[in-house]
Symmetry: C2
Subunit: 431 residues, 2 copies
């Protein structure tokens, strides 16, 4: 008898197979017992008919409890009511391990704190499995897109030597005889990579020791950051929109069932096609003013303002050319207008906020040095970064996409804490 994973069942119609997994649901009606089994690849209904099995097996089936692990053998048969198209007519059951205690997580409502305390078990539920599978698709799509477009993976360091912009949001660790800080972005290193490999991307965890409890923040989150030599802001925005559109299309293609499990309105995802709308910061301010919001030119856009803007569109919107004072020192100013940066943010629709931040980097040595000083930063730790402008400097641009916010958006979640296996928040580091 062949051991198969449940997602291969359609290749084994009318055959005898063995599956290995866990009981997720059980109900009996006299001579029939229906056991739903999950094995990580899929879920399938297994039907035990009293007339088909020994009394011992029927008794075993009748005594099964949620999350019992087992091996079931039986024949694969058509079942048009199941989404798989098949069910298993059980011949034998071998229990691997039956829990002594009731599984702590039931379909009934649990508090958020309890569920997070039980995160190692909570991830077994169909909703969490769906989210984690979609996360895996998003990561794979991001990597595939960049690999196919000539970007080379460039693993930037997590431990960094300096707290360039102050230590207030940095995690710090003793590093032998000195201190090190956990990275907040691979970008500066990616720029060095782009000068060597032309187009690179980093993809790793980043950290922010922020004392904030919002539904959009984790202390540990993953970012993918492409950076390309000879790229300007327009090329960067084009790359960003094609990148995001590809990720959405891959999720729609590969995760129909998961989106259904999450009851995600996929019509809102199917409209995500390039080109995305692009507006300048100036236009964003005009929109906000005309809709009665009290903003003045020069203010950064907060979460509420972002939602007002993004709600006007059925796809992500790119906002470019923010005031230089809103953006980091490394952003290049617009040569046409020195008070705005050649930067862009991408806001996800449906109020999911900023998912991308990026733009063109300052590539002139003197200008960059002056910007560093203007931001009251010590130029010394930036000498290596300034070197990139000393030796064959080129126009270059890039951006960072936050994975957890992208997962939250595509899954339709109202908090990023369910987007990663073991979320880290200000008040949550266990398990």
């Amino acid at each position: 008898m062949q051991y198969i994973r449940i997602d291969e069942i359609n290749k084994h119609a009318d055959e005898e197979v063995q599956i290995k997994g866990w009981v997720t649901h059980i109900r009996s009606s006299g001579k029939l017992i229906f056991i739903e089994i999950r094995d990580g690849s899929e879920r399938v209904q297994c039907v035990v008919y009293k007339g088909d099995v020994t009394p011992e097996i029927f008794e075993t089936a009748d005594g099964l409890t949620i999350e019992t692990s087992l091996m079931i053998s039986g024949s694969v048969r058509k079942d048009t009511r199941s989404k798989l198209g098949y069910e298993i007519g059980v011949k034998s059951i071998q229990v691997v391990h039956q829990p002594k205690d009731e599984f702590p997580i039931s379909p009934k409502e649990h508090g958020v704190a309890f569920l997070h305390e039980q995160r190692h078990l909570w991830i077994r539920s169909s909703r969490q499995v769906a989210i984690l599978r979609i996360r895996a698709t998003i990561v794979k799509a991001a990597r595939d897109f960049l690999d196919r477009n000539g970007f080379i993976l460039f693993d930037t360091p997590i431990l960094t030597p300096t707290s360039c912009e102050g230590t207030s949001t940095l995690f710090e660790t003793p590093y032998f005889s000195r201190s090190a800080y956990l990275t907040q972005s691979g970008q500066l290193y990616d720029e060095a990579g782009a000068m060597a490999l032309g187009r690179v991307y980093s993809f790793g965890p980043t950290f922010r020791a922020e004392k904030s409890k919002t539904r959009r923040h984790l202390t540990e989150f993953w970012m993918v950051e492409p950076e390309a030599a000879f790229f300007d802001l327009d090329m960067d925005m084009k790359l960003a929109e094609e990148f995001v559109a590809y990720i959405v299309s891959e999720v729609l293609k590969n995760n129909t069932y998961e989106l259904e499990t999450l009851e995600r309105n996929i019509v809102k995802l199917e409209t995500i096609e390039t080109p995305f709308p692009r507006i300048s910061y100036d236009e964003a301010i005009d929109i906000l003013k005309s809709t009665g919001h009290e903003v003045i030119w020069g203010d950064d856009l907060g979460g509420d303002e972002e939602t007002v803007i993004s709600n006007r569109y059925d796809r992500p919107v790119l906002i470019h050319r923010y005031p230089v004072e809103c953006k980091a020192f490394y952003m290049k100013s617009d040569p046409q207008r020195s008070n705005v940066s050649l930067c862009c943010d991408m806001l996800a629709p449906e109020g999911y906020g900023e998912i991308i931040g990026g733009g063109q980097r300052e590539d002139d040595y003197e200008t960059l040095l002056n910007k560093i000083k203007h931001h009251k930063l010590d130029p010394e730790p930036f000498q290596w970064y300034l070197d990139l402008r000393r030796y064959g400097s080129v126009p270059h641009a890039g951006f960072g996409l936050g994975i957890e916010r992208t997962v939250a958006w595509l899954c339709g979640l109202n908090h990023v804490r369910e987007t990663i296996p073991f979320p880290r928040l200000m008040d949550r580091i266990h398990p």
Copy 2:
């Protein structure tokens, strides 16, 4: 005129194109100037013939220096001596940025410390580019292999709450009102993932604050760790050998030029096919004794012993069933023989040492609890991990592959410090 990347040149024979990149080499002979340009995708020779260009362009070409960034236009023509098969007959040159100072890294010998201090520039050299491209292939091959075999990416946390096995090799950071530690492995979390998703893998940076300066150790290194439910040691070893063989085959397929640049003896890689030899720890000890090494049963194998064993084979060797006392508390003991673990290490050939460590995990609640106590560990922080044995425990196994050691082996490097863009060592965290 079309802007192309150099690696697309074979699609543009006899066309006029523009390339953008950096000067890596220049030599002139009277009326001809030969400029080698790199753009990250490839290198190409550009030929300036005095009769073809204006005096200004010829003068510009004559004044070019190493690492000048520029845009060159010209016609693509056959050149059988070049590995690309083509060269560019230059029509015009536009300098983007010419360095005022000489590029610090020349083809002459430099000291290791100097090169690492200049790592942000050193990565532009052909040897470093080759290594980083091979690294990218290895990572992609590892992910593709696991994705295609039903493993789901599962990003385990970097910040962990407890120093389960002592703090001596852990990096510690204040985490709001408490402490957190940088992960040394995602395995325990992967086990929770395997119970939810069947087959998972983590792939991220791991950390070890070891006060050791060897050619095999970094303080920050990347690991890929697959973990599968209903896997035993044999399935685990089979997975490991197929995984490694696939990675090697992908590097051979995609990085011919890079391996050539590194002068890697590829005959030694072409022999890497499954099945890999498998020997027990007992057999390893016998081999060592019979070749005059002073070892006694129960000793762990050190680097020297590993080299003796691995030198006997033309491909990686799997050593299984080490004494339980050599291995971590979570390893399952062999039911046939309780003093050995159902574990396996894979040693790379040519003296590159251990690249994989793994095995079957203890899946019985009481036994695991006793092992935790036997290792003098506090069971409290392991309650969530013990839960995996309370609710539907199953046999499961996995392993971890170290990326940097794999890169070192496949590239033929004698130190892991060149295998990652910005290596972190005990005495090296800058730039």
